[in-house]
């Protein structure tokens, strides 16, 4: 086995031990925070594939999470409550009206549906570049939340679905986080990964080397959406209640801030971003409640984002290749144009 693979095996064992110890010795509140950190990490690590490595600055992640959350909720919803909640019965191709999906396949199905949605909207949206892509993907969030509000027969509309069975625990969460990190790490460190980074750096240059831009962009978008869908499913089965409002632009904003703050296009960056911002949130929560300035934490997030953009745009762990391009260097290096 190669060394990095071995590192993942050891990392996996250590992670399991850590999770085991945490579940034994930490109180429920701390475990609650750890699970949220795990779920947000899955979302942020997967967003890193599209936004960080492929350079497609998508703001649509919340929509994929919503799809995953609603799909896995509907698939696993207990039969006796289904009528009371006026939720639809499953059609024959999803197992029929008397079938309830187990948790793991339901999560995968939620991810798959999110991927399918990514495939559909990716084809037109990924033709756009830069800000146009961001705005169009944001439009997708609006579409999905609006649909969730209006398709009352399936989603119960704005009031949302509650009494979702609590399946998500710290083990499930960190198992999925491990899978997500491993899969994305594998993708990035392959020939494919080099190709998507090449597209990010210089699309024309990559194209003339034989990289098909559309195929690769779409693939990274679809893979990112899958794990976003899984994160959504985990979230639904953790909070036990979902409403369309929770998957609005605000969720996207949080994940994007976590990613940028941690460092886009790095393996550790997204997780570092999640851990630092969520820790900050829960550390400041008592203060916020005491001062009764609700939304203070969001303000701090926004200010932090501005500060990071100004002083360390590559994020906490990010390395910038621009470091050597300061004017002084250009003067000393003969003919440096880079």
């Amino acid at each position: 086995m190669k060394r990095p693979e071995l590192a993942f095996v050891w990392g996996g064992i250590l992670l399991f031990l850590g999770v085991f110890l945490a579940s034994q010795f930490l109180n429920r509140y701390l475990i609650h925070i750890l699970v949220l950190i795990g779920i947000y990490s899955i979302a942020t690590v997967s967003l890193n594939l599209t936004n960080g490595y492929a350079g497609l600055f998508s703001l649509g992640h919340a929509a994929f999470m919503a799809i995953g959350a609603y799909a896995s909720t509907l698939l696993t919803f207990p039969l006796p409550l289904r009528e009371a909640y006026e939720l639809p019965k499953l059609p024959w191709f999803l197992g029929g009206p008397d079938f309830v999906w187990p948790f793991f396949p339901a999560l995968c199905m939620g991810g798959a549906l999110a991927s399918f949605a990514a495939l559909l909207i990716g084809a037109p949206v990924l033709r756009l570049r830069g800000h146009y892509l961001s705005v169009a993907s944001l439009g997708f969030v609006v579409i999905v939340t609006t649909l969730a509000k209006t398709m009352k027969g399936i989603t119960r509309g704005p009031m949302g679905i509650s009494a979702i069975p609590l399946y998500t625990n710290i083990y499930w969460t960190y198992l999925w986080l491990f899978i997500t990190v491993y899969v994305i790490w594998r993708i990035v460190h392959s020939r494919f990964g080099r190709a998507i980074m090449a597209l990010r750096e210089d699309e024309t240059a990559a194209q003339v080397l034989g990289v098909y831009p559309m195929k690769y962009k779409l693939f990274s978008f679809v893979v990112g959406a899958f794990f976003a869908g899984v994160a959504g499913g985990l979230y639904a089965h953790f909070t036990k209640a979902i409403r369309p409002l929770e998957f609005s632009f605000f969720l996207t904003f949080q994940i994007v801030v976590m990613l940028i703050l941690g460092g886009m296009g790095t393996t550790a960056g997204p997780i570092v971003g999640v851990v630092s911002l969520l820790t900050l949130r829960y550390a400041l929560k008592p203060l916020e409640e005491h001062l009764k300035i609700y939304g203070m934490i969001e303000l701090i997030y926004a200010v932090l984002l501005i500060v990071v953009m100004l002083w360390k745009p590559e994020g906490i762990v990010g390395r910038s290749p621009g470091k050597k391009k300061r004017p002084t260097r250009v003067l000393e290096g003969g003919g440096s144009h880079g």
């Binding site: 020939r191 080099r194 190709a195 980074m197 090449a198 990010r200 750096e201 210089d202 024309t204 240059a205 990559a206 194209q207 003339v208 080397l209 034989g210 990289v211 098909y212 296009g265 390395r319 290749p321 621009g322 470091k323 050597k324 391009k325 290096g333 003969g334 003919g335 440096s336 144009h337 880079g338």
Partner: protein, 234 residues
């Protein structure tokens, strides 16, 4: 080897290249000269397939490739080293080179070629793990050449390799380009600085506002008064 017939390329409605015909013979260095906006880069991009011609046909080894995608043209043996080098700044030197071999599948051959590139450009070997964006301009141009060679091209399209480089570096670069030609790679070279390009080219075309104005053997063109006055500053 390469034949361009009656090529017209438009950006929207504005023609950048009008009715350009040219030919590149195997084993030669052919240069495409002209001022800014003469249509040199546009012509190269059309040969590579990045731009689609409005009118005209492109033949490579007798095969009509006008409708093929850039990826397919790479597989046929054409490589473009784009203007401004098109280096992938945040990737390492080695990753850049490996991307050059993107359309090839044999791992062993790729590794072998990588070693050959490092022999040809020792400075890239020293910096194989360095982030490409931190290389000097000359090194970046060498990386771009090396990356182009990693595709094992038979025809290489070079777009202004001397751009922004110090004269000494340009001389070094051109020695390398001649070396590449000597290894059997045919080269279509676009340049603004006509003097250096005519120095190594066998044949030259001069473009002006999207049209071929002059063409002929480099030696002959060099001696023409018109070329001297306009392009060689003499």
């Amino acid at each position: 080897m390469l034949k361009v017939e009656g090529l017209t390329v438009k950006y929207g409605v504005i023609p950048a290249v009008v009715n350009v015909s040219l030919e590149v013979r195997e084993g030669q260095i052919v240069t495409l000269l002209g001022a800014n906006g003469a249509g040199k880069t546009t012509t190269l991009k059309a040969v590579m397939g990045v731009l689609r011609p409005a009118v005209g046909k492109i033949f490579y080894r007798g095969q009509d490739i006008t409708s093929l995608s850039p990826s397919l043209r790479v597989r046929l043996g054409i490589a473009l080293v784009p203007e401004g080098r098109g280096i992938f700044n945040r990737l390492t030197v080695e990753e850049n080179l490996l991307l050059g071999a993107y359309s090839r599948s044999s791992r062993e051959e790729i590794v072998k070629d990588l070693e050959e590139i490092y022999l040809l450009f020792p400075r890239l070997a020293e910096r194989r793990k360095q982030i490409a964006g931190t290389l000097s301009g000359g090194e970046q141009q060498m990386l771009a050449l090396g990356r182009g060679l990693m595709a094992r091209p038979q025809l290489m399209l070079l777009d202004e390799p001397s751009l922004g480089l110090a004269p000494l570096v340009v001389r070094e670069l051109y020695t390398l380009i001649e070396k590449i030609r000597d290894q059997g790679v045919t080269i279509l070279l676009v340049e603004q600085s006509a003097l250096v390009a005519l120095g190594i080219a066998d044949y030259a075309y001069v473009l002006e506002s999207g049209n071929v104005k002059l063409f002929g053997e480099s030696e002959v063109l060099k001696s023409l008064d018109e070329v001297k006055r306009v392009y060689l500053g003499g």
